[in-house]
């Protein structure tokens, strides 16, 4: 599968978006959940986050973060979620959403849930980057020593 590395896996993208979003925002966008069976969790735990020595060398253990995971079955579709934080409802919603995105309703949920989440995340990132850009230093030379 040579294309696997260049084309982003759409499931990977929506799972990341669902993990990063604010639980309250996801709840507001999908207040009602379709009937589903819990396969595992929701379970609160920790994930050890690794860095690299010098940013590019061997891995080292930086510290843990809280994560809640959940797996659900919705008809024939199985949905999984690992989401940052300790919100069980967030993990269930993200797992149900992952399952729904594998069904015929995917396009509709893409439009009503994922698209707004994506737009809001992009706007928040752009605002942060714009504030950072405003603090970028413009140097101008006053006197150069060798000009004397």
């Amino acid at each position: 599968m040579p294309s696997a590395q260049t084309e982003p896996n759409p499931r990977k993208l929506w799972m990341g978006l669902l993990a990063r979003c604010a639980p309250a925002r996801l709840a507001a966008l999908m207040p009602d959940l379709p009937p589903h069976d819990l396969l595992r969790g929701p379970e609160i735990g920790a994930v050890m986050v690794q860095g690299r020595v010098g940013g590019t060398g061997q891995p080292f253990n930086l510290g843990e973060m809280t994560v809640t995971r959940c797996s659900v079955r919705l008809g024939d579709a199985v949905g999984h979620a690992h989401v940052q934080g300790r919100d069980r409802a967030h993990a269930i919603r993200a797992a149900v959403m992952d399952a729904l995105m594998q069904t015929e309703q995917a396009a509709s949920f893409e439009a009503t849930v994922l698209a707004p989440l994506k737009a809001e995340e992009s706007a928040a990132r752009a605002l942060r980057a714009a504030k950072a850009a405003a603090t970028k230093v413009e140097f101008f030379t006053l006197v150069r020593g060798e000009d004397k």
Partner: protein, 189 residues
């Protein structure tokens, strides 16, 4: 991952794993006593008791070895999904699951280091039957003497001779389990 592998985990993990841990602890502390556990529904041929032990004791930091008769795709997936434990060769295992025939020779398993005897393997032996009869057990946690239907005695006597190093053993059959720590003195009757 096979759909069957996603089923059969604990439904209420905090409560079920706490109860199972208590049973595992009691079994190891009182060799020869037999305990009933519940909560796991692992794929065949794994017993309920072995499944409960894996769910309770294993995670991503405890490499697990699956003996031949249990080294099946559905079992591998079940262990991976529900515990996150890496599946490894006998020599690298902290837990090993199989029938006695699968797990012998048992001198392949880690017995710990003199400084760290805890860095050893725990064997989970699937038994055709498990009764308080047969081999004679004495030692820590046994008031006078206990009996347990062990698959053999010689291997456990050799293991006792390594103390404080050595492996520890759980014996499982259906939903019942018993413990045999390395400290127990085993004699054939």
């Amino acid at each position: 991952m096979t759909p069957e592998a996603l089923l059969g985990g604990f439904q209420t993990a905090p409560i079920q794993s706490a109860r199972a841990f208590r049973a595992a602890l009691e079994a190891m502390a009182r060799p020869g006593t037999i305990w009933e556990v519940e909560g796991a529904m692992p794929p065949t041929p794994m017993s309920v008791a072995a499944g409960v032990l894996l769910l309770t004791l294993c995670d991503g930091t405890t490499p697990v070895h699956l003996g031949g008769s249990l080294d099946l795709p559905v079992v591998r997936d079940w262990v991976t999904f529900h515990t996150g434990a890496p599946l490894v060769a006998a020599e690298d295992a902290r837990f090993a699951l199989g029938t006695w025939a699968d797990l012998t020779p048992v001198n392949r398993f880690a017995i710990g280091l003199p400084d760290y005897p805890d860095r050893s393997a725990t064997l989970i032996v699937e038994m055709p039957r498990l009764d308080a009869e047969g081999a004679r057990l004495t030692g820590p946690g046994i008031k006078d003497v206990a009996h347990l239907s062990l698959p053999e005695t010689q291997a456990f006597r050799a293991n006792r001779a390594l103390f404080p190093q050595g492996f520890d053993t759980y014996l499982t059959c259906g939903s019942r389990l018993a413990g045999l720590p390395r400290s127990t003195i085993v004699e054939a009757v």
